[in-house]
């Protein structure tokens, strides 16, 4: 989709980009990461010709972009920046329709599109269509920024630290949103950031650059498990093992859980079937109610126990939760095993710390 062939950029003898060659595949969410001054923004801006490479060539869909007029190229590539840059004298609707208008799309079609895209980025069109940028919060403004980049059906999206200035909660929401949009629309996204957690969370592949050179290009998993050199290790931080867990999900590590269905009755006697020293207790609808500790009870075949009630919302792991969150919950509850519940509390399995340690 996007191919950089031996691209370099110098400003008065200083090389900011040094012979970078890489290929970004169609439908990838490709993250370029590096410390400040590493040239990541320069690299991004060369893809839409806002900066011209000194040497080397860039191809999009096999076409050398130096043969395309910058403005025309940029209308086909979505562009989102950290400072958003909404035009303050235009309403949300006008801001989002800028590129479609430049492309001379049909007026009615533009209107439909604006409504649809605002919906997609999580802004209610009936509320936001006629608002002005100054009436929006930072998160809302960046949602409009993303909508604006998507409005002209660009196949490629360039994002330059788009969530760098947002608070952690909004940031996390928008990261999830961009992952969803990426999957749904199958766009090729090139995303620049200096936040390694962000990169690991959303990337299909990550390119680490330092001083204008590529250090490593690989999937988040491989970068975490096989960092190429000391620089990447230090960049990943000492908690890289935990970071790795943020890309792994409970559903891939859970297994079946034994349970006793109360079905309205009091907890009675256990049967031989129970082999572990604990058991999950559920109600008639299979909703997690608590757990019974069997370690202290006598070894009779029929053991009478009472159980400890828990709130599944606090205690259980979710199916789509990351292992990082689950391990955190285990530490919090001082438990090596946690039940796995659906959103409505239905018990569907359990997850064991031992599995996480051995299988990741």
């Amino acid at each position: 989709m996007i191919k950089l062939d031996n691209v370099s950029k110098s400003y008065n003898q200083t090389r900011v980009i040094d012979c970078i060659s890489l290929e970004i595949l169609k439908g990838e969410l490709f993250v370029i990461i590096g410390p400040s001054g590493s040239g990541k923004t320069t690299l991004l801006k060369m893809i839409n010709k806002m900066i011209q490479p000194t040497t080397g060539k860039i191809y999009i869909d096999g076409v050398d972009i130096s043969s395309i007029k910058g403005e025309l190229l940029r209308r086909r590539i979505g562009y989102v920046i950290q400072d958003i840059g909404l035009l303050p004298h235009m309403s949300v609707k006008e801001n989002v329709s800028i590129v479609p208008k430049l492309l001379k799309m049909n007026k009615k079609k533009i209107e439909e599109k604006v409504v649809r895209i605002l919906d997609m980025v999580g802004l209610d069109p009936s509320i936001y269509l006629n608002k002005y940028p100054s009436q929006l919060s930072g998160g809302q403004a960046q949602r409009v920024g993303i909508a604006r980049a998507l409005a002209a059906d660009a196949q490629v999206l360039l994002m330059d630290e788009p969530f760098g200035a947002l608070d952690p909660i909004t940031k996390s929401h928008l990261q999830n949103q961009i992952s969803r949009i990426h999957k749904k629309l199958n766009k090729t996204i090139v995303f620049v950031t200096h936040d390694i957690d962000e990169a690991i969370k959303i990337a299909s592949r990550i390119a680490v650059i330092k001083d204008g050179r590529l250090v490593q290009v690989d999937t988040p998993k491989n970068i975490l498990s096989k960092p190429k050199n000391e620089f990447i290790v230090s960049f990943l931080g000492s908690d890289r093992a935990l970071k790795k867990l943020s890309r792994l999900y409970v559903k891939d590590f859970m297994h079946k859980a034994d349970r006793i269905n109360l079905a309205g009755k009091d907890l009675g006697y256990l049967t031989d079937a129970v082999t572990k020293n604990y058991i999950w207790i559920t109600n008639e609808n299979d909703i997690l109610k608590g757990w019974a500790d069997l370690s202290d009870s006598d070894q009779d075949n029929k053991r009478q126990v009472s159980y400890i009630e828990v709130d599944y919302k606090m205690f259980a792991a979710g199916v789509d939760e990351t292992l990082k969150d689950t391990v955190s919950k285990m530490l919090w509850h001082s438990s090596k095993v946690l039940p796995v519940c659906k959103e409505d509390g239905k018990l569907i399995g359990e997850i064991d710390l031992a599995d996480i340690i051995t299988k990741t």
Binding site: D83, H89, L102
Partner: protein
């Protein structure tokens, strides 16, 4: 959105223009002054002449000033920034009377020399404010505009000028108000306007004429200032939003 101030000052101007002579005649009777209490031309037509003169000169200043300001803020026009600023400040530093003295031998008597003087005198605030207005636009707005694929003309017309409009209009207001006062000098070279009764009053020592002209000019200034402020409010509804903080 015409403000109360504009309506009141406009009404006062017109009422004064219509009834000033009647009041003058009454005062003359009381004081038995030997001077004429009625100027040969109507104050209303003189005021209109005055406004026209100022408007035409300001319009030319705006066209040339905005153009020069835009050139100075282009990437390729950066070299012109200094000479343009120089021209503007030199034209401001020339007293209008000196410009008249130079212009009369070239273009003759009448309204032409004062139009030239007003044009030159009014250039400075407009050029300055155009440059300031365009330069004060947040860099991220320009970057996003370029990144979306807007051409240089699109950016100028749809982004820079609308966002700088408020600041430019403030310059136009300054120019207009200065010019209303300066235009009175034009009467010495036969330009007409409210300067005419003032000059002849000064020559004949006729206080009536001087009072008519100065009061009318004062009302005119207040009226134009208020009218342009209204216009500024209307134009900057959009761009004033940029100053509100977004957090």
């Amino acid at each position: 959105m015409i403000s109360k101030k504009t309506v009141v000052s406009g009404t006062l101007l017109i009422l004064f223009d219509i009834f000033a002579y009647n009041v003058g005649l009454y005062i003359k009777e009381l004081s038995s002054s030997p001077y004429k209490a009625r100027y040969p031309a109507s104050l209303l037509s003189l005021s209109i002449e005055h406004i026209l003169m100022v408007t035409v000169a300001t319009l030319f200043s705006v066209i040339v000033g905005v153009l020069l300001g835009v050139i100075a803020t282009r990437k390729w026009g950066n070299d012109f920034l200094y000479p343009i600023n120089l021209i503007a400040s030199v034209s401001q530093s020339f007293p209008p009377v000196a410009v008249l003295a130079i212009a009369v031998p070239i273009v003759g008597f009448g309204s032409k020399p004062i139009l030239i003087a007003l044009f030159a005198y009014g250039l400075f605030p407009i050029i300055q404010n155009t440059i300031a207005g365009i330069k004060s636009i947040e860099p991220s707005i320009k970057e996003a505009s370029i990144g979306m694929g807007m051409g240089a003309t699109d950016i100028l017309v749809k982004v820079e000028l609308p966002l700088a409009a408020g600041t430019i209009l403030a310059g136009v207001k300054t120019t207009t108000i200065i010019n209303i006062g300066v235009a009175a000098v034009g009467a010495v070279v036969g330009a007409g306007g409210l300067g005419a009764p003032m000059i002849s009053g000064l020559i004949d020592e006729n206080q009536f004429y001087i009072a008519y002209a100065s009061i009318a000019i004062a009302f005119l200034s207040i009226f134009m200032d208020s009218l342009l402020t209204d216009l500024e409010t209307i134009v900057t509804i959009g761009s004033s939003r940029k100053s509100q903080s977004r957090s």
